[in-house]
Symmetry: C2
Subunit: 398 residues, 2 copies
């Protein structure tokens, strides 16, 4: 709640956009807590921040717990923040109990996860994992023409810690941002991976004729294939089970005239599935349907792919560590696939990783009304604690 | 073709927007032809222009032939113009042959039929027929803040001829602006009336949730009712025969985000039918469908009526005069309902009226490529001639 006061919004949310003064104030608050504990602090070239508690084996790669402190412009109090502060709670708890871990345990704060101010989400973890070049990230520009590089330099965030270090494992605690756990009554979601998604822009082109004199059967009306492909999209999705998702959005048609058949109708389609082959199959089935339907109505069509993010399958060992922790602490849990992207997606490309979800009220996120109960927060941190200790090969010293 | 050079566009069309200098130049050209013939010329308070050839009975109300000379900004060479010049050709032919008519014959040029510069289509005939107050028309403003009244005064178009005079009949010759006659091979369309139309704005409201984590069955996605009501709209229309028309257009959804289920989808629906009861039935069936479908998917809906223009049924005597003329001149003809509005719609509210259609290439109109063949133009004018003579009770004097 103290962190939420940094960049607090009138509606009860937080506005700490990446690399802003508010984001810097949030980090400063976090660092004041870390330094009070005597944990060491380092940053890498893209400003990812790591708070470290040493382990007993000087050669062991660290176990990293983390997420992000930056928010959407009208963000909530928990998206990202909960994973950082939950990780820090784990670090404090280990320290409070004088637990020695073989591997060091670190808490990571990734830079610019939201991608709202600088248009690249999961930027810090993407650069860390080598999926995006540092120079590309530094050159990103906000609406005022300020670059990521300029702000990293201004804030002194760029440090010497190597990117893409070897880690024993990475665990990210996060609110679900969906209604599944709340509906099923699970206290913990054991996240096995992240859905692949593909963003398509669909354009259907017809003939802009007068709505009055033109008989219905003499038209090439793009709203006819629109009706058919929307209906088909939902059918294609339903056929592929509960993890298949399809979201048509951003509808626009031209011309802006009530009495002219549209010349073009354009809309986006977001399709998701945790299995890359199934996702490809959805895409193909949708294109086939569009081609057939547009052809039947004498319309042209075009699809562009604006974003193509393959599914992520988390490390079985990390997933089992989370599941075992939930079981050992007696928490109702279920395996779940994340519908949204997280820093763990990029990190998982390089090192073993998994995530822990807790339910959030009404599945609401990217919203100032985002809410979890203190007891729910505690359960998640507790499961994270025992999973982290399992990965870090603990031995209690008292 | 000479008239088309006034306000000619690079793409071969005409740009003579109502009450502009180009519109004034078009009228001046037309008046030079009228005055060369010695016909008398008058205007009424809204600038409607009447070119008159006297009849033999001083008490007889005139037969008026007419349409408009103003165009869309990227208008064609025939929409409106053909009806004025076709009417004038009739007047010249009567005069050339020394035909005496019992009733006077006049050619009308209605002011601002297009409604593109000043936003009220069929303005001149609407004021003439008392459907719109003169003051309302004079107060209409273009994008530069110029009023109809100011331009009427500037051009000296406002005259003393009474509005809403008694007429023996009104006949309007026009291009079809649709593909029906061309498809059936008819040379003449005997227009029995004008379709009623209603413009609806439909808003469907759902819940804007994240496209990733939210299961398909936990959504209130307005694109689901959209698919169903579009499909249903085409079915409702098909059930009501070839004169029923429906045009969904102007699709817009919010928010502009590919990975959020739309909160609202808005679109317009233009429905048309020549029978008022059938039009009402289409409207009701569509609303019922929308209510059921939105409810099934947990969405809200709203419909506003933006325009409601009742069907026009032309005077049987005038329609028969046109039909008899087409038959007498040996022209392939069929009865047809106009899908678009014309000055004749308002005039028919006050005096007996009908229209004559000729085919136009590909049914194209409101388009610089608008085209008819000289022979087609001649056929239409010939049918107009004999229908006008029938109404004006002719007696040849040589």
């Amino acid at each position: 709640m103290a962190m939420a006061e940094v960049g607090a919004t009138a509606a009860g949310g937080s506005n700490r956009q990446a690399l802003s003064d508010d984001d810097a104030d949030g980090r400063a608050l976090f660092l004041s807590w870390a330094e009070a504990r005597g944990f060491s602090v380092s940053t890498d070239a893209v400003g990812n921040l790591f708070v470290r508690r040493e382990g007993t084996d000087p050669d062991a790669a660290p176990v990293v717990l983390g997420s992000h402190l930056d928010t959407q412009p009208t963000g909530g109090r928990f998206d990202g923040v909960y994973g950082v502060l939950g990780g820090f709670e784990v670090l404090e708890t280990i320290d409070d109990h004088g637990v020695s871990t073989t591997a060091p345990v670190e808490v990571a704060v990734w830079t610019n996860e939201e991608g709202s101010r600088f248009p690249l989400s999961m930027m810090g973890s993407a650069v860390w994992a080598g999926a995006v070049d540092l120079d590309v990230a530094r050159a990103l520009v906000d609406v005022d023409g300020i670059t990521v590089g300029a702000d990293l330099d201004r804030l002194g965030w760029a440090g010497d810690l190597p990117l893409g270090r070897t880690l024993t494992g990475y665990l990210e605690l996060h609110i679900e941002q969906g209604p599944v756990l709340e509906a099923s009554g699970s206290e913990i979601g054991v996240v096995t991976g992240v859905q692949g998604f593909r963003w398509l822009t669909v354009t259907i082109t017809g003939d802009p004729v007068h709505a009055g004199p033109t008989p219905m059967d003499a038209r090439h009306d793009p709203a006819r294939p629109l009706a058919e492909v929307l209906d088909g999209l939902y059918r294609i999705t339903a056929e592929r089970g509960p993890w298949a998702r399809a979201t048509p959005a951003q509808f626009r048609s031209e011309p802006v005239s009530p009495n002219t058949v549209p010349s073009t109708i354009r809309f986006s389609v977001d399709i998701r599935h945790p299995d890359a082959d199934v996702l490809d199959g959805m895409d193909r089935a949708f294109r086939d349907l569009l081609a057939t339907s547009a052809d039947r109505h004498g319309c042209q069509w075009e699809i562009s792919v604006d974003n193509d993010s393959p599914p992520v399958v988390f490390d079985p060992g990390c997933v089992e560590a989370v599941e075992a922790s939930a079981a050992a602490t007696g928490r109702a849990h279920e395996r779940i696939v994340s519908g949204a992207g997280h820093d763990a997606c990029y990190v998982a490309g390089l090192v073993p990783a998994a995530m822990v979800f807790v339910p959030c009220r009404d599945g609401l996120s990217h919203n100032e009304s985002e809410s979890i109960q203190p007891a729910q927060a505690e359960v998640g941190a507790e499961v994270l604690l025992h999973a982290a200790l399992a990965l870090a090969h603990t031995s209690e010293d008292r």
